[in-house]
Amino acid sequence: MNEHKGPLLLSAKDIVVRFNLRGQELTAIRGASLNVYQGETVAIVGESGSGKSVFTKTFIGMLDQNGRVEAGQLLFHGEDMVRYDSEAQWLKVRGKKIAMVFQDPMTSLNPVRVVGEQIAEVIMWHFQKSHEEARQETIDLLRRVGIDEPERRYRQYPGEFSGGMRQRVVIAAAIACRPEILICDEPTTALDVTVQAQVLNLIKELQREMGMSVVFITHDLGVVANVADWVAVMYAGKIIEYGEAEEVFHQAQHPYTQALLRSLPQLGVKGQDLYAIQGTPPSLFKEIQGDAFAPRNPDAMKIDFLEEPPAFPVSPTHWAKTWLLSPEAEEYRLGLKRRDEQRKAAQSPAPPFDYAQAEPLLSVRNLSVHFKLGSSRVKAVDGVSFDIYRGETLSLVGESGSGKTTIGRAIMSIYSGNVEGEISFKGQKINQKLSKKDRGRLHMEMQMIFQDPMASLNDRAKVDYIISEGLYNYRLFENEQDRIAKVEKMLEEVGLTSDFMTRFPHEFSGGQRQRIGIARSLIMNPDFVVADEPISALDVSIRAQVINLLNRMKKERELTYLFIAHDLSAVRFISDRIAVIYRGRLVELAACEELFARPLHPYTKALLSAAPYPDPALEKNKTILTYHPSREEDNKNRQWIEAYPFHFVYATEQEIEAYRDESK
């Protein structure tokens, strides 16, 4: 007991949740337990489908209609909330004692009511206060969560707030009743890194002030390291490891936790394969025998397939459900450890890309793209120039709406008419009318990989057709047999088997679908690939697979990548050079390690400082730099200057001097 800061508040014991889906029973939670103590933050980590959201939804009785708690207890203030059967009972808890914040701030607020009323209604409803009192409290709350001019903002609609500001409003509504527990369901996943860091800080401050407990659900280990006192790792509807944050990060015991941490690109060695978790999360429609992770664990033991492991204590504050901790497995465990150390020692980083020898493959000069929005014209990309050299990976990093995807699509000639400037590939200008033959050649030489594996595959077509689409378009096969052989070979290369050919995309998980998408592009044998955030929609356990696949393909097929991303960790691992884009303009471009070692532009600095790092000690003590674009008012004198060799910044001469001084 003494290891916790405060008394036990909520205790969930052996919760089992089942859903009825397509006439089948899905056991989403298979006996999960969690204790929440006052004033502490417990983070539940897991990938999509692990049940982390469902589990916490039971704490406030908000399961979807086809789901129900089948077994277990939820003790809160001496009452078992599993037994609540009327709305009235829940209303005393929900929002008042236990509050929740959702992932997407853009949809969490009613778009046609002013934000203030949406907060005030909570206060009026739970405390029977008058409208005027509630209004005053709401204004204080808004001020507290960092919204300027709260009186004016009170009367504004959600559409007038940015994503980060909306999430602040949502948080204000959630804490309006000073709840004892605040459940945060991926509250920063939809936000940009710089905004994410601010919102995380806000949550931590509020927790300290109000003495709340926070249950933090996330898949991002960097975020966990930032916020959590305690970490619970969830896999296939069960909590498989639990402990103090430091312990879980540094002495993870469960093979799944270990694999998750090891597969993070921050910890990878450049040029080598990342450690990747194999396969796909298990189906919860079937009964799971033994350790649910065993089928994906190459080092699983026989017992893992037969019996479910109990929780073995590692320290008084740390346990894990894995047979590896059983005394019988001592020898096996030491064997694994030795092998691991050998493996680590063998890895050495690849030499950096040699730019002295490089020849440009694609050149972009003064690219501007504008869109019509209503009656006005918006410039999404504004005078961007860069080269991509044959064989390199250039990453384009920026927040949402910065224009990075637009650049990728402009290069792929997806827009017509609204693109200015010049894009040339292998010396030929391509953003103009081309002969059918030239256009066809480009389609074969330039390909694109998409962000959303769910939206980028036609769900009414079979995998066979999806992968063959390009082959059909240019008849890149001799006969039917040849085509099938090509598709099979491609599937093999992306790690899928040929019996997937006759299936529809629905039947695949996100990672598998993304690999199908990669197969579809690479079967054309391109030289150049635009990869538009190919991993950001994927689960952590799947990302490493895809990163490795992209890297392997690059080596084997001598590809050149334009990698578009907002996630700096993966970018550092995968790219040779990084270009930072802010509001449609490139602000900095440098070789990868140079940029991380010596960022010059204040926006780059802010971006780097905000990126979460999966180490609690570092993460909890980091200082976040904020970038104030107001300081950077449009200055006509700014130009693209080479501040150091191969290191470019968009700045004025004076600014360059200042940046250079700062970086010393």
């Binding site: 396969g279 796909t280 298990p282 089928p295 033991m301 939206a455 036609n458 529809f504 598998q512």
Partner: protein, 314 residues
């Protein structure tokens, strides 16, 4: 008890604490399998008993209305000069009775069904067919937007009843003019409907992927777009049928419907209405058939729309 012992044995069996074989295929296995959009759509659709009954009934009525004129020798236009053959109540000889001129209402009902169906099918075909093509062109050409929206506003701003009455008045009534007056208006409503759907499909990532692969327009249409909207096409076509039958009844009432000697459900209802107070069966029986058809198609269309939504494939 035995189980527990068994278990205790296992967890102390050091042979089990050794490396197991790793099966790659097993690690890639996922839950959902054998999902096919169309199979699920039809399974969901036919899950309801009502739908099964209605589809069966409509199939029977369709079959009957096209077979009856071929196999039966009863002439639906045969007027009897003897007054004892007039206004006969339903009997075995005349299942639905006879009308004021001694014509067999049962035979007329099937002929009427056939004619009304034919008309409705033509209208459905042209509304949905033209509407879909126009909608696709509209959806893919931003430049058409102002013109088409204005055209849509113009055509739909005039109440449909007024429009139908007006056109029917201007042209002499016949099957063709009835078809023209209904079809000339219906397509734009469908076009707008399909345009909205196609707009959302058009910018989907998989379509952009197809463009990056250089897929020609024709294949994009047949592979990417039509499969996505085919369920909408079926639904809209099904809903066209009650609409066109209803319009025909309405026009008959206004007095600008089909010529009196044409046998359609609309004409039968309107003619029956005149003699309703004396011989209610003359109106009730054809009306019942008509309502059955419109209600059935309405339900089938709506249920099919629900079933074709993947969110309902539970």
């Amino acid at each position: 008890m035995e189980n527990t012992l068994n278990r205790i044995d296992k967890i102390h069996d050091s042979a089990l604490f050794t490396a197991a074989d790793f099966d790659r295929a097993e690690s890639e296995r996922i839950g959902v399998s054998n999902y096919s959009y169309w199979r699920s759509t039809f399974r969901t659709f036919f899950k309801s008993k009502l739908v099964i009954v209605l589809v069966g009934l409509m199939a029977a009525i369709l079959l009957m209305s096209f077979l009856y004129p071929v196999i039966s020798k009863v002439d639906p236009t045969k007027v009897s000069t003897r007054s004892r053959n007039w206004n006969l109540r339903p009997s075995w000889d005349h299942l639905f009775g006879t009308d004021t001129l001694g014509r067999d209402i049962f035979a007329r009902a099937w002929y009427g069904c056939r004619n009304s169906f034919l008309l409705a099918f033509c209208i459905a075909l042209s509304d949905v067919g033209i509407g879909m093509i126009a909608g696709a062109i509209w959806g893919y050409n931003r430049k058409l937007d102002p013109i088409m929206i204005e055209l849509y506003n113009v055509m739909t701003n005039i109440p449909s009843t007024v429009y139908l009455v007006l056109l029917a008045y201007i042209m002499n009534t016949s099957y063709l003019t009835l078809f023209i007056s209904m079809a000339s208006r219906g397509w734009i409503v469908e076009a707008r409907f399909f345009r909205n759907r196609i707009l959302s499909i058009r910018d989907a990532e998989y379509n952009i992927a197809s463009r990056c692969l250089g897929t020609p327009m024709l294949r994009i249409a047949t592979r990417n777009i039509i499969p996505q909207i085919i369920s909408l096409i079926i639904m809209e076509a099904a809903l066209c049928i009650p609409y066109s039958i209803g319009s025909e009844v309405f026009l008959g009432f206004v007095g600008v419907g089909m010529p009196v000697d044409a046998i359609t459900l609309g004409n039968m209802v309107n003619q029956g209405r005149a003699s309703f107070t004396l011989h209610p069966y003359q109106m009730l029986l054809p009306t019942a058939v008509l309502c059955l058809i419109t209600v059935a198609f309405y339900i089938i269309g709506n249920r099919f729309a629900d079933a074709s939504d993947p969110r309902n494939h539970l």
